[in-house]
Amino acid sequence: MRPVYMVSGGITKFSKASPNKDFRYMVKESFDSAMADVPDLTLDRIDGSVASYFSDHFTRQLMAGIMVHDYLGLTPKPSRRIESGGATGGMCFQSAWEAIASGRMDVVAAFGFETMSHVNTWKGNEFIALASDTNFDYPVGGFYTGYYAMMVKRHMHEFGTTVEQLAAVSVKNHKNAMHNPYAQFPAELTIQDVLNSEMVSDPLKRLDICVMSDGAATAILASEEMAYKLTDKPIRITGVGTGTDAMRLADRPSREVILLPHENPEDYKNLKYPGVHSFRGGRVAAKEAYKMAKIENPLEELDFVELHDAFTSSEIQTYEDLGLCKYGDGGKFVESGAADLNGKVPVNPSGGLLACGHPVGATGLMQSVFAFWQLQGNVSKHFGGDGALQLKNPKRGLIHSHAGTGTYITVSIMERGF
Protein backbone atom coordinates (compact mmCIF):
# COMPACT_ATOMS: atom_id res chain seq x y z
CA MET A 1 0.00 0.00 0.00
CA ARG A 2 1.50 3.30 -1.13
CA PRO A 3 1.85 5.66 1.87
CA VAL A 4 -0.42 8.70 1.85
CA TYR A 5 0.08 11.96 3.75
CA MET A 6 -1.87 15.07 4.56
CA VAL A 7 0.18 18.15 3.76
CA SER A 8 -2.20 21.01 4.51
CA GLY A 9 -5.71 21.95 5.56
CA GLY A 10 -8.00 24.94 5.76
CA ILE A 11 -11.44 25.78 7.10
CA THR A 12 -13.85 28.68 7.13
CA LYS A 13 -15.43 29.81 10.33
CA PHE A 14 -18.69 27.88 10.49
CA SER A 15 -21.73 30.10 10.88
CA LYS A 16 -25.50 30.01 10.86
CA ALA A 17 -25.60 31.73 7.47
CA SER A 18 -23.11 33.14 5.00
CA PRO A 19 -25.12 35.32 2.63
CA ASN A 20 -22.04 37.14 1.33
CA LYS A 21 -20.24 34.06 0.08
CA ASP A 22 -21.77 31.15 -1.77
CA PHE A 23 -20.58 27.55 -1.52
CA ARG A 24 -17.92 28.08 -4.19
CA TYR A 25 -16.45 31.10 -2.49
CA MET A 26 -16.51 29.44 0.94
CA VAL A 27 -14.56 26.45 -0.33
CA LYS A 28 -12.14 28.75 -2.14
CA GLU A 29 -11.48 30.49 1.17
CA SER A 30 -10.66 27.22 2.92
CA PHE A 31 -8.64 26.05 -0.09
CA ASP A 32 -6.62 29.27 -0.29
CA SER A 33 -5.86 29.08 3.39
CA ALA A 34 -4.59 25.51 2.96
CA MET A 35 -2.52 26.53 -0.07
CA ALA A 36 -1.05 29.51 1.74
CA ASP A 37 0.34 27.24 4.47
CA VAL A 38 2.48 25.36 1.94
CA PRO A 39 4.30 27.93 -0.19
CA ASP A 40 5.66 25.32 -2.61
CA LEU A 41 2.19 24.02 -3.37
CA THR A 42 1.06 25.81 -6.52
CA LEU A 43 -2.17 25.17 -8.41
CA ASP A 44 -0.39 23.24 -11.16
CA ARG A 45 0.93 20.68 -8.65
CA ILE A 46 -2.57 19.52 -7.74
CA ASP A 47 -3.53 16.44 -9.76
CA GLY A 48 -7.23 16.38 -8.98
CA SER A 49 -9.94 16.89 -6.40
CA VAL A 50 -12.71 15.12 -4.53
CA ALA A 51 -15.83 17.08 -3.68
CA SER A 52 -17.95 16.47 -0.61
CA TYR A 53 -21.48 17.71 0.00
CA PHE A 54 -24.52 16.00 1.35
CA SER A 55 -27.54 17.07 -0.57
CA ASP A 56 -28.78 18.65 -3.78
CA HIS A 57 -31.69 19.89 -1.69
CA PHE A 58 -29.60 22.07 0.61
CA THR A 59 -27.54 23.42 -2.25
CA ARG A 60 -30.52 24.11 -4.56
CA GLN A 61 -28.09 23.02 -7.22
CA LEU A 62 -27.24 19.65 -8.72
CA MET A 63 -23.63 18.83 -9.58
CA ALA A 64 -22.36 21.51 -7.22
CA GLY A 65 -19.10 19.55 -6.88
CA ILE A 66 -17.85 20.37 -10.34
CA MET A 67 -18.79 24.03 -9.84
CA VAL A 68 -16.39 24.27 -6.93
CA HIS A 69 -13.62 22.37 -8.74
CA ASP A 70 -14.13 24.83 -11.61
CA TYR A 71 -14.17 27.85 -9.29
CA LEU A 72 -10.89 26.74 -7.73
CA GLY A 73 -9.29 26.83 -11.18
CA LEU A 74 -8.77 23.05 -11.29
CA THR A 75 -10.39 22.23 -14.64
CA PRO A 76 -9.64 20.16 -16.74
CA LYS A 77 -8.12 17.95 -14.02
CA PRO A 78 -9.95 14.93 -12.59
CA SER A 79 -12.60 15.35 -9.92
CA ARG A 80 -15.58 13.45 -8.55
CA ARG A 81 -18.15 13.93 -5.82
CA ILE A 82 -18.59 11.68 -2.81
CA GLU A 83 -21.83 11.50 -0.87
CA SER A 84 -22.38 9.34 2.16
CA GLY A 85 -24.85 11.28 4.29
CA GLY A 86 -23.34 12.76 7.45
CA ALA A 87 -20.15 10.78 6.80
CA THR A 88 -19.63 12.47 3.44
CA GLY A 89 -16.62 14.45 4.64
CA GLY A 90 -14.84 11.44 6.10
CA MET A 91 -15.60 9.41 2.98
CA CYS A 92 -14.25 12.19 0.76
CA PHE A 93 -11.03 12.10 2.78
CA GLN A 94 -10.77 8.34 2.21
CA SER A 95 -11.58 8.67 -1.49
CA ALA A 96 -8.69 11.12 -1.83
CA TRP A 97 -6.56 8.61 0.11
CA GLU A 98 -7.52 5.90 -2.40
CA ALA A 99 -6.73 8.14 -5.38
CA ILE A 100 -3.18 8.51 -4.07
CA ALA A 101 -2.71 5.04 -2.59
CA SER A 102 -3.74 3.55 -5.93
CA GLY A 103 -0.85 5.37 -7.58
CA ARG A 104 -3.14 7.34 -9.85
CA MET A 105 -2.53 10.79 -8.36
CA ASP A 106 0.18 12.44 -6.28
CA VAL A 107 -1.57 15.50 -4.85
CA VAL A 108 -5.33 15.65 -4.27
CA ALA A 109 -7.50 18.40 -2.81
CA ALA A 110 -10.39 16.99 -0.78
CA PHE A 111 -12.91 19.77 -0.23
CA GLY A 112 -16.34 19.87 1.36
CA PHE A 113 -19.10 22.29 2.14
CA GLU A 114 -22.73 22.67 3.05
CA THR A 115 -24.95 25.73 2.98
CA MET A 116 -27.81 24.82 5.27
CA SER A 117 -29.04 28.38 5.75
CA HIS A 118 -31.04 28.44 2.51
CA VAL A 119 -34.02 26.87 4.22
CA ASN A 120 -35.38 27.21 7.73
CA THR A 121 -34.24 24.80 10.46
CA TRP A 122 -37.35 22.62 10.32
CA LYS A 123 -37.25 22.35 6.55
CA GLY A 124 -33.60 21.44 6.97
CA ASN A 125 -34.59 18.72 9.40
CA GLU A 126 -37.11 17.54 6.83
CA PHE A 127 -34.38 17.30 4.16
CA ILE A 128 -32.25 15.29 6.53
CA ALA A 129 -35.23 13.07 7.33
CA LEU A 130 -35.65 12.44 3.59
CA ALA A 131 -32.41 10.53 4.09
CA SER A 132 -34.40 7.89 5.95
CA ASP A 133 -36.56 5.31 4.18
CA THR A 134 -39.29 7.38 2.51
CA ASN A 135 -41.68 4.42 2.35
CA PHE A 136 -41.46 3.26 5.96
CA ASP A 137 -39.64 5.73 8.20
CA TYR A 138 -39.99 9.27 6.91
CA PRO A 139 -43.81 9.33 6.90
CA VAL A 140 -44.03 8.02 10.48
CA GLY A 141 -41.87 10.59 12.16
CA GLY A 142 -39.49 12.13 9.71
CA PHE A 143 -37.00 13.33 12.30
CA TYR A 144 -33.46 12.12 12.82
CA THR A 145 -33.27 13.42 16.38
CA GLY A 146 -36.17 11.09 17.09
CA TYR A 147 -34.29 8.12 15.67
CA TYR A 148 -31.20 8.90 17.78
CA ALA A 149 -33.42 9.41 20.80
CA MET A 150 -34.79 5.88 20.40
CA MET A 151 -31.27 4.54 20.10
CA VAL A 152 -30.05 6.16 23.29
CA LYS A 153 -33.25 5.20 25.15
CA ARG A 154 -32.32 1.60 24.50
CA HIS A 155 -28.71 2.31 25.46
CA MET A 156 -29.94 3.72 28.76
CA HIS A 157 -32.13 0.66 29.24
CA GLU A 158 -29.36 -1.85 28.47
CA PHE A 159 -26.49 -0.13 30.26
CA GLY A 160 -27.91 2.40 32.71
CA THR A 161 -26.57 5.40 30.85
CA THR A 162 -27.93 8.64 32.35
CA VAL A 163 -28.99 12.03 31.01
CA GLU A 164 -26.30 13.57 33.21
CA GLN A 165 -23.69 11.55 31.34
CA LEU A 166 -25.09 12.80 28.03
CA ALA A 167 -24.98 16.33 29.38
CA ALA A 168 -21.34 15.88 30.41
CA VAL A 169 -20.42 15.44 26.74
CA SER A 170 -22.12 18.71 25.88
CA VAL A 171 -20.39 20.54 28.70
CA LYS A 172 -16.97 19.18 27.72
CA ASN A 173 -17.24 19.93 24.00
CA HIS A 174 -18.74 23.38 24.30
CA LYS A 175 -16.05 24.25 26.82
CA ASN A 176 -13.20 23.08 24.59
CA ALA A 177 -14.59 25.30 21.84
CA MET A 178 -14.07 28.40 23.99
CA HIS A 179 -10.51 28.32 22.68
CA ASN A 180 -11.37 27.50 19.06
CA PRO A 181 -11.96 30.66 17.02
CA TYR A 182 -13.54 28.60 14.19
CA ALA A 183 -16.30 27.28 16.45
CA GLN A 184 -19.84 28.47 15.86
CA PHE A 185 -21.12 27.93 19.38
CA PRO A 186 -18.51 27.95 22.16
CA ALA A 187 -20.02 28.05 25.64
CA GLU A 188 -19.34 27.52 29.32
CA LEU A 189 -22.20 25.31 30.39
CA THR A 190 -23.16 23.28 33.44
CA ILE A 191 -24.80 19.87 33.47
CA GLN A 192 -27.87 21.66 34.72
CA ASP A 193 -27.87 24.08 31.76
CA VAL A 194 -28.01 21.13 29.41
CA LEU A 195 -30.72 19.34 31.39
CA ASN A 196 -32.74 22.56 31.52
CA SER A 197 -32.55 23.21 27.80
CA GLU A 198 -35.65 22.61 25.75
CA MET A 199 -36.66 18.98 25.18
CA VAL A 200 -36.51 18.10 21.48
CA SER A 201 -36.97 14.36 21.42
CA ASP A 202 -36.85 12.62 24.75
CA PRO A 203 -34.16 12.31 26.19
CA LEU A 204 -32.32 14.63 23.76
CA LYS A 205 -32.48 18.33 24.52
CA ARG A 206 -31.37 21.39 22.55
CA LEU A 207 -27.90 21.30 24.08
CA ASP A 208 -27.49 17.61 23.28
CA ILE A 209 -27.78 18.37 19.57
CA CYS A 210 -25.52 20.13 17.09
CA VAL A 211 -26.84 23.03 15.03
CA MET A 212 -27.04 23.53 11.26
CA SER A 213 -24.29 25.54 9.67
CA ASP A 214 -22.78 27.03 6.58
CA GLY A 215 -19.14 26.18 6.18
CA ALA A 216 -16.35 24.67 4.13
CA ALA A 217 -13.12 22.76 4.68
CA THR A 218 -10.23 21.52 2.55
CA ALA A 219 -7.64 18.81 3.18
CA ILE A 220 -4.74 18.36 0.81
CA LEU A 221 -3.30 14.86 0.55
CA ALA A 222 -0.11 13.76 -1.16
CA SER A 223 2.09 10.80 -1.94
CA GLU A 224 5.19 10.26 0.18
CA GLU A 225 7.53 11.79 -2.35
CA MET A 226 5.41 14.88 -2.85
CA ALA A 227 4.61 15.21 0.86
CA TYR A 228 8.25 15.51 1.89
CA LYS A 229 8.91 17.82 -1.05
CA LEU A 230 6.09 20.14 0.01
CA THR A 231 6.41 20.26 3.78
CA ASP A 232 8.76 19.25 6.56
CA LYS A 233 5.80 18.38 8.78
CA PRO A 234 3.71 15.89 6.81
CA ILE A 235 1.09 13.85 8.63
CA ARG A 236 0.73 10.26 7.52
CA ILE A 237 -2.66 8.61 7.12
CA THR A 238 -1.82 5.18 8.45
CA GLY A 239 -5.28 3.65 8.52
CA VAL A 240 -8.65 4.03 6.84
CA GLY A 241 -11.78 2.08 7.65
CA THR A 242 -15.44 2.21 6.70
CA GLY A 243 -18.49 0.41 8.02
CA THR A 244 -22.19 0.53 7.24
CA ASP A 245 -25.52 -0.53 8.63
CA ALA A 246 -29.12 -0.96 7.53
CA MET A 247 -30.92 2.24 6.63
CA ARG A 248 -33.94 1.43 8.74
CA LEU A 249 -33.28 1.31 12.46
CA ALA A 250 -35.99 -1.34 12.60
CA ASP A 251 -33.83 -3.64 10.45
CA ARG A 252 -30.82 -3.73 12.75
CA PRO A 253 -29.98 -7.31 13.58
CA SER A 254 -29.06 -8.94 16.89
CA ARG A 255 -25.78 -10.82 16.67
CA GLU A 256 -22.55 -11.21 18.55
CA VAL A 257 -20.31 -8.24 19.20
CA ILE A 258 -17.61 -7.74 16.58
CA LEU A 259 -14.48 -7.82 18.72
CA LEU A 260 -11.38 -5.63 18.63
CA PRO A 261 -7.96 -7.20 19.37
CA HIS A 262 -7.98 -6.15 23.04
CA GLU A 263 -11.49 -7.47 23.77
CA ASN A 264 -12.85 -10.80 24.96
CA PRO A 265 -16.05 -12.56 23.94
CA GLU A 266 -16.84 -13.03 27.66
CA ASP A 267 -17.16 -9.26 28.00
CA TYR A 268 -20.38 -9.40 26.01
CA LYS A 269 -21.91 -12.75 26.82
CA ASN A 270 -25.53 -11.64 26.96
CA LEU A 271 -25.44 -8.58 24.74
CA LYS A 272 -27.56 -8.61 21.61
CA TYR A 273 -25.59 -6.60 19.12
CA PRO A 274 -25.94 -4.02 17.73
CA GLY A 275 -29.71 -3.85 18.07
CA VAL A 276 -30.51 -0.18 18.07
CA HIS A 277 -28.20 0.78 20.94
CA SER A 278 -24.86 0.72 19.11
CA PHE A 279 -23.32 1.56 15.76
CA ARG A 280 -22.02 -1.62 14.20
CA GLY A 281 -20.67 0.42 11.27
CA GLY A 282 -18.45 2.36 13.69
CA ARG A 283 -16.98 -0.83 15.06
CA VAL A 284 -16.31 -2.23 11.58
CA ALA A 285 -14.70 1.05 10.49
CA ALA A 286 -12.49 1.11 13.58
CA LYS A 287 -11.49 -2.51 13.13
CA GLU A 288 -10.35 -1.97 9.53
CA ALA A 289 -8.50 1.25 10.36
CA TYR A 290 -6.79 -0.22 13.46
CA LYS A 291 -5.66 -3.23 11.50
CA MET A 292 -4.13 -1.06 8.80
CA ALA A 293 -2.51 1.26 11.37
CA LYS A 294 -1.44 -1.70 13.54
CA ILE A 295 -3.29 -0.46 16.61
CA GLU A 296 -3.98 -3.16 19.19
CA ASN A 297 -5.33 -1.15 22.06
CA PRO A 298 -6.83 2.15 20.98
CA LEU A 299 -7.07 3.69 24.45
CA GLU A 300 -3.33 3.25 24.95
CA GLU A 301 -2.26 4.03 21.42
CA LEU A 302 -4.33 7.05 20.46
CA ASP A 303 -3.38 10.52 21.66
CA PHE A 304 -6.70 12.13 20.78
CA VAL A 305 -9.95 11.57 18.90
CA GLU A 306 -12.11 13.91 16.83
CA LEU A 307 -15.45 12.13 16.53
CA HIS A 308 -18.87 12.83 15.09
CA ASP A 309 -20.87 14.14 18.07
CA ALA A 310 -23.98 15.31 16.21
CA PHE A 311 -25.69 14.18 19.42
CA THR A 312 -24.18 13.80 22.87
CA SER A 313 -25.50 10.25 22.82
CA SER A 314 -23.53 9.43 19.67
CA GLU A 315 -20.31 10.45 21.35
CA ILE A 316 -20.94 8.07 24.21
CA GLN A 317 -21.93 5.25 21.86
CA THR A 318 -18.88 5.96 19.74
CA TYR A 319 -16.41 5.65 22.64
CA GLU A 320 -17.63 2.07 22.77
CA ASP A 321 -17.59 1.41 19.03
CA LEU A 322 -14.00 2.68 18.91
CA GLY A 323 -13.03 0.44 21.79
CA LEU A 324 -11.98 3.31 24.08
CA CYS A 325 -14.08 1.51 26.68
CA LYS A 326 -16.29 -1.58 26.80
CA TYR A 327 -19.76 -1.54 25.26
CA GLY A 328 -21.99 -0.10 27.94
CA ASP A 329 -19.27 1.87 29.71
CA GLY A 330 -19.47 5.00 27.53
CA GLY A 331 -21.43 7.00 30.06
CA LYS A 332 -18.95 6.24 32.81
CA PHE A 333 -16.09 6.99 30.44
CA VAL A 334 -17.08 10.62 29.94
CA GLU A 335 -18.03 10.96 33.61
CA SER A 336 -14.54 9.83 34.61
CA GLY A 337 -12.93 12.68 32.73
CA ALA A 338 -11.06 10.30 30.44
CA ALA A 339 -12.27 12.21 27.38
CA ASP A 340 -11.41 15.64 28.77
CA LEU A 341 -8.81 17.89 27.23
CA ASN A 342 -6.35 16.70 29.86
CA GLY A 343 -7.81 13.20 30.14
CA LYS A 344 -6.50 9.81 29.08
CA VAL A 345 -7.58 10.38 25.48
CA PRO A 346 -8.98 13.83 24.74
CA VAL A 347 -12.12 13.46 22.64
CA ASN A 348 -13.16 16.39 20.49
CA PRO A 349 -10.55 18.80 21.77
CA SER A 350 -11.78 21.13 18.99
CA GLY A 351 -15.26 21.24 20.47
CA GLY A 352 -16.68 18.72 18.00
CA LEU A 353 -19.83 19.16 15.97
CA LEU A 354 -21.77 20.19 19.06
CA ALA A 355 -19.78 23.39 19.41
CA CYS A 356 -18.12 23.88 16.01
CA GLY A 357 -21.24 23.31 13.93
CA HIS A 358 -22.07 20.69 11.33
CA PRO A 359 -22.11 21.88 7.72
CA VAL A 360 -22.48 18.27 6.64
CA GLY A 361 -20.13 17.96 3.66
CA ALA A 362 -17.43 19.98 5.44
CA THR A 363 -17.61 18.32 8.85
CA GLY A 364 -15.48 15.22 8.31
CA LEU A 365 -12.84 17.33 6.59
CA MET A 366 -12.91 19.90 9.37
CA GLN A 367 -12.00 17.08 11.75
CA SER A 368 -9.03 16.18 9.57
CA VAL A 369 -7.84 19.79 9.62
CA PHE A 370 -8.09 20.07 13.41
CA ALA A 371 -6.31 16.73 13.80
CA PHE A 372 -3.66 17.84 11.31
CA TRP A 373 -2.92 21.02 13.24
CA GLN A 374 -2.78 19.05 16.52
CA LEU A 375 -0.24 16.66 15.07
CA GLN A 376 1.82 19.41 13.45
CA GLY A 377 1.78 21.11 16.85
CA ASN A 378 0.67 24.47 15.50
CA VAL A 379 -2.84 24.86 16.90
CA SER A 380 -1.83 28.14 18.48
CA LYS A 381 -0.67 29.56 15.16
CA HIS A 382 -3.99 28.69 13.54
CA PHE A 383 -6.10 29.74 16.51
CA GLY A 384 -4.90 33.34 16.62
CA GLY A 385 -2.24 32.72 19.23
CA ASP A 386 -4.46 30.74 21.61
CA GLY A 387 -2.74 27.43 22.23
CA ALA A 388 -4.99 26.23 25.03
CA LEU A 389 -6.25 23.32 22.93
CA GLN A 390 -2.81 22.18 21.76
CA LEU A 391 -2.10 18.75 23.20
CA LYS A 392 1.42 17.98 24.33
CA ASN A 393 3.35 16.33 21.55
CA PRO A 394 0.56 14.15 20.14
CA LYS A 395 1.81 11.39 17.84
CA ARG A 396 -1.39 9.75 16.66
CA GLY A 397 -5.00 10.85 16.32
CA LEU A 398 -8.25 9.36 15.07
CA ILE A 399 -10.97 11.07 13.06
CA HIS A 400 -14.47 9.63 12.79
CA SER A 401 -17.32 10.61 10.48
CA HIS A 402 -20.87 9.28 10.76
CA ALA A 403 -24.09 9.28 8.72
CA GLY A 404 -27.68 9.04 9.95
CA THR A 405 -28.14 6.38 12.67
CA GLY A 406 -24.75 4.95 11.72
CA THR A 407 -25.55 3.96 8.14
CA TYR A 408 -22.09 5.01 6.94
CA ILE A 409 -19.18 5.47 9.33
CA THR A 410 -15.54 6.21 8.54
CA VAL A 411 -12.51 6.07 10.80
CA SER A 412 -9.12 7.36 9.70
CA ILE A 413 -5.86 7.32 11.67
CA MET A 414 -3.40 10.18 11.31
CA GLU A 415 0.20 10.10 12.57
CA ARG A 416 3.12 12.46 12.72
CA GLY A 417 5.38 11.80 9.77
CA PHE A 418 8.30 13.87 11.08
Binding site: P19, N20, R60, N120, W122, K123, N125, E126, F127, I128, A129, N135, F136, D137, P139, V140, G141, G142, F143, T145, G146, A149, M150, M151, K153, R154, H157, E198, M199, V200, S201, D202, P203, L204, A246, R248, L249, A250, D251, R252, P253, S254, G275, V276
Partner: protein
Protein backbone atom coordinates in the same frame (compact mmCIF):
# COMPACT_ATOMS: atom_id res chain seq x y z
CA UNK B 1 -46.77 24.98 -27.74
CA UNK B 2 -48.29 28.45 -27.78
CA UNK B 3 -48.08 30.65 -30.87
CA UNK B 4 -45.61 33.43 -30.22
CA UNK B 5 -45.04 36.73 -31.88
CA UNK B 6 -41.42 36.05 -32.60
CA UNK B 7 -40.82 39.35 -34.34
CA UNK B 8 -41.41 41.40 -31.20
CA UNK B 9 -38.08 42.64 -29.91
CA UNK B 10 -39.27 43.08 -26.35
CA UNK B 11 -39.37 40.37 -23.74
CA UNK B 12 -42.70 40.35 -21.93
CA UNK B 13 -42.62 42.16 -18.60
CA UNK B 14 -43.70 39.76 -15.87
CA UNK B 15 -43.95 40.17 -12.15
CA UNK B 16 -44.42 36.65 -10.90
CA UNK B 17 -41.99 34.74 -8.81
CA UNK B 18 -39.74 37.49 -7.46
CA UNK B 19 -39.69 38.04 -3.72
CA UNK B 20 -36.69 40.07 -2.65
CA UNK B 21 -35.48 39.89 0.97
CA UNK B 22 -32.32 41.92 0.79
CA UNK B 23 -30.27 43.94 -1.69
CA UNK B 24 -26.66 43.79 -0.55
CA UNK B 25 -26.15 40.90 -1.08
CA UNK B 26 -29.26 40.18 -3.14
CA UNK B 27 -31.29 37.55 -1.30
CA UNK B 28 -34.39 36.19 -2.96
CA UNK B 29 -37.12 33.71 -2.29
CA UNK B 30 -37.06 30.77 -4.66
CA UNK B 31 -39.97 28.38 -4.64
CA UNK B 32 -39.74 24.84 -5.96
CA UNK B 33 -42.40 22.17 -6.40
CA UNK B 34 -42.38 18.59 -7.60
CA UNK B 35 -45.14 16.07 -8.17
CA UNK B 36 -43.83 12.55 -7.90
CA UNK B 37 -45.48 9.43 -9.22
CA UNK B 38 -44.34 7.07 -6.51
CA UNK B 39 -44.75 3.32 -6.71
CA UNK B 40 -44.47 1.11 -3.62
CA UNK B 41 -43.41 -1.56 -6.08
CA UNK B 42 -42.51 -4.82 -4.30
CA UNK B 43 -43.62 -3.35 -0.97
CA UNK B 44 -47.19 -2.76 -2.20
CA UNK B 45 -48.70 -5.82 -0.49
CA UNK B 46 -47.67 -4.39 2.87
CA UNK B 47 -49.62 -1.18 2.26
CA UNK B 48 -52.55 -3.08 0.76
CA UNK B 49 -52.48 -5.22 3.93
CA UNK B 50 -52.77 -2.17 6.17
CA UNK B 51 -55.95 -1.19 4.33
CA UNK B 52 -57.32 -4.60 5.29
CA UNK B 53 -56.20 -4.46 8.90
CA UNK B 54 -53.25 -6.80 8.37
CA UNK B 55 -49.64 -6.25 9.37
CA UNK B 56 -47.21 -8.05 7.12
CA UNK B 57 -43.54 -8.90 7.56
CA UNK B 58 -41.16 -11.09 5.57
CA UNK B 59 -39.65 -14.53 6.00
CA UNK B 60 -36.59 -15.71 4.09
CA UNK B 61 -37.34 -18.70 1.88
CA UNK B 62 -33.79 -19.97 2.32
CA UNK B 63 -32.39 -19.24 5.78
CA UNK B 64 -35.66 -18.55 7.58
CA UNK B 65 -34.74 -15.07 8.87
CA UNK B 66 -37.84 -13.05 9.75
CA UNK B 67 -38.29 -9.31 9.32
CA UNK B 68 -40.67 -7.07 11.24
CA UNK B 69 -40.50 -4.49 8.46
CA UNK B 70 -40.92 -6.10 5.06
CA UNK B 71 -38.06 -6.58 2.64
CA UNK B 72 -38.37 -8.67 -0.49
CA UNK B 73 -34.88 -10.09 -0.17
CA UNK B 74 -33.13 -11.38 2.91
CA UNK B 75 -30.45 -9.14 4.40
CA UNK B 76 -28.61 -12.17 5.72
CA UNK B 77 -28.37 -14.46 2.70
CA UNK B 78 -29.79 -12.49 -0.24
CA UNK B 79 -32.57 -14.99 -1.06
CA UNK B 80 -36.13 -13.87 -1.83
CA UNK B 81 -38.51 -13.64 1.10
CA UNK B 82 -42.18 -14.51 1.35
CA UNK B 83 -44.89 -12.55 3.13
CA UNK B 84 -45.83 -13.50 6.67
CA UNK B 85 -48.50 -12.14 9.00
CA UNK B 86 -47.18 -10.36 12.05
CA UNK B 87 -49.02 -10.54 15.38
CA UNK B 88 -51.07 -7.45 16.06
CA UNK B 89 -49.78 -7.48 19.63
CA UNK B 90 -46.15 -6.73 20.41
CA UNK B 91 -43.86 -4.99 22.88
CA UNK B 92 -42.04 -1.67 22.90
CA UNK B 93 -38.35 -2.23 22.17
CA UNK B 94 -37.56 1.46 22.48
CA UNK B 95 -39.36 4.81 22.15
CA UNK B 96 -39.17 8.58 22.18
CA UNK B 97 -41.57 11.48 22.29
CA UNK B 98 -40.81 14.16 19.69
CA UNK B 99 -41.58 17.74 20.67
CA UNK B 100 -40.15 19.04 17.41
CA UNK B 101 -39.74 17.48 13.99
CA UNK B 102 -39.21 18.06 10.30
CA UNK B 103 -41.41 20.80 8.87
CA UNK B 104 -44.00 18.39 7.47
CA UNK B 105 -44.68 16.93 10.91
CA UNK B 106 -44.20 19.99 13.11
CA UNK B 107 -47.92 20.51 13.67
CA UNK B 108 -48.33 16.89 14.79
CA UNK B 109 -45.97 17.29 17.75
CA UNK B 110 -45.72 16.02 20.39
CA UNK B 111 -45.92 12.47 19.05
CA UNK B 112 -44.41 9.26 20.36
CA UNK B 113 -42.37 6.94 18.15
CA UNK B 114 -41.84 3.32 19.12
CA UNK B 115 -39.96 0.33 17.81
CA UNK B 116 -42.24 -2.68 18.09
CA UNK B 117 -40.67 -6.06 18.83
CA UNK B 118 -42.19 -9.50 18.57
CA UNK B 119 -40.79 -12.72 20.03
CA UNK B 120 -39.48 -14.85 17.20
CA UNK B 121 -39.25 -11.98 14.73
CA UNK B 122 -35.66 -10.95 14.10
CA UNK B 123 -36.22 -7.25 13.42
CA UNK B 124 -38.52 -4.42 14.49
CA UNK B 125 -41.22 -2.11 13.18
CA UNK B 126 -41.30 1.69 13.51
CA UNK B 127 -44.69 3.14 14.40
CA UNK B 128 -46.45 5.74 16.47
CA UNK B 129 -47.86 5.08 19.92
CA UNK B 130 -51.15 6.84 20.54
CA UNK B 131 -53.00 7.53 23.77
CA UNK B 132 -50.18 7.10 26.26
CA UNK B 133 -48.73 10.12 28.06
CA UNK B 134 -44.98 10.50 27.36
CA UNK B 135 -44.07 9.89 30.99
CA UNK B 136 -45.99 6.62 31.05
CA UNK B 137 -44.32 4.96 28.05
CA UNK B 138 -41.90 2.18 28.94
CA UNK B 139 -39.61 -0.25 27.23
CA UNK B 140 -41.30 -3.66 27.38
CA UNK B 141 -44.82 -2.23 27.46
CA UNK B 142 -47.34 -4.39 25.60
CA UNK B 143 -48.99 -2.68 22.66
CA UNK B 144 -51.47 -3.61 19.97
CA UNK B 145 -51.98 -2.42 16.41
CA UNK B 146 -54.86 -0.23 15.31
CA UNK B 147 -55.64 0.66 11.73
CA UNK B 148 -57.01 3.81 10.21
CA UNK B 149 -60.48 3.42 8.80
CA UNK B 150 -59.63 5.68 5.84
CA UNK B 151 -56.53 4.17 4.36
CA UNK B 152 -53.98 6.66 3.08
CA UNK B 153 -51.60 3.96 1.85
CA UNK B 154 -48.93 5.21 4.21
CA UNK B 155 -47.15 3.44 7.07
CA UNK B 156 -49.21 5.60 9.42
CA UNK B 157 -52.29 3.60 8.37
CA UNK B 158 -51.26 1.46 11.32
CA UNK B 159 -50.41 2.78 14.78
CA UNK B 160 -50.20 1.25 18.21
CA UNK B 161 -52.02 1.70 21.50
CA UNK B 162 -51.53 0.13 24.95
CA UNK B 163 -52.50 -3.54 24.75
CA UNK B 164 -54.98 -3.31 27.60
CA UNK B 165 -56.97 -0.38 26.20
Amino acid sequence: MAEKNISSTKLEEVEQGCVLYNLDPIIMKYHYEVDYIHSYAQDSPFFAGLAKGELKGSRCTKCGSTFGTPRSHCMNCGAPTEWMDLPLNGKIHTFTTCYFGGQEFLDETPFTLIMVEWPGVDTFFLSRLVGVAPEDVQIGMEVKARFRRLSQFKPTDVYFVKADV
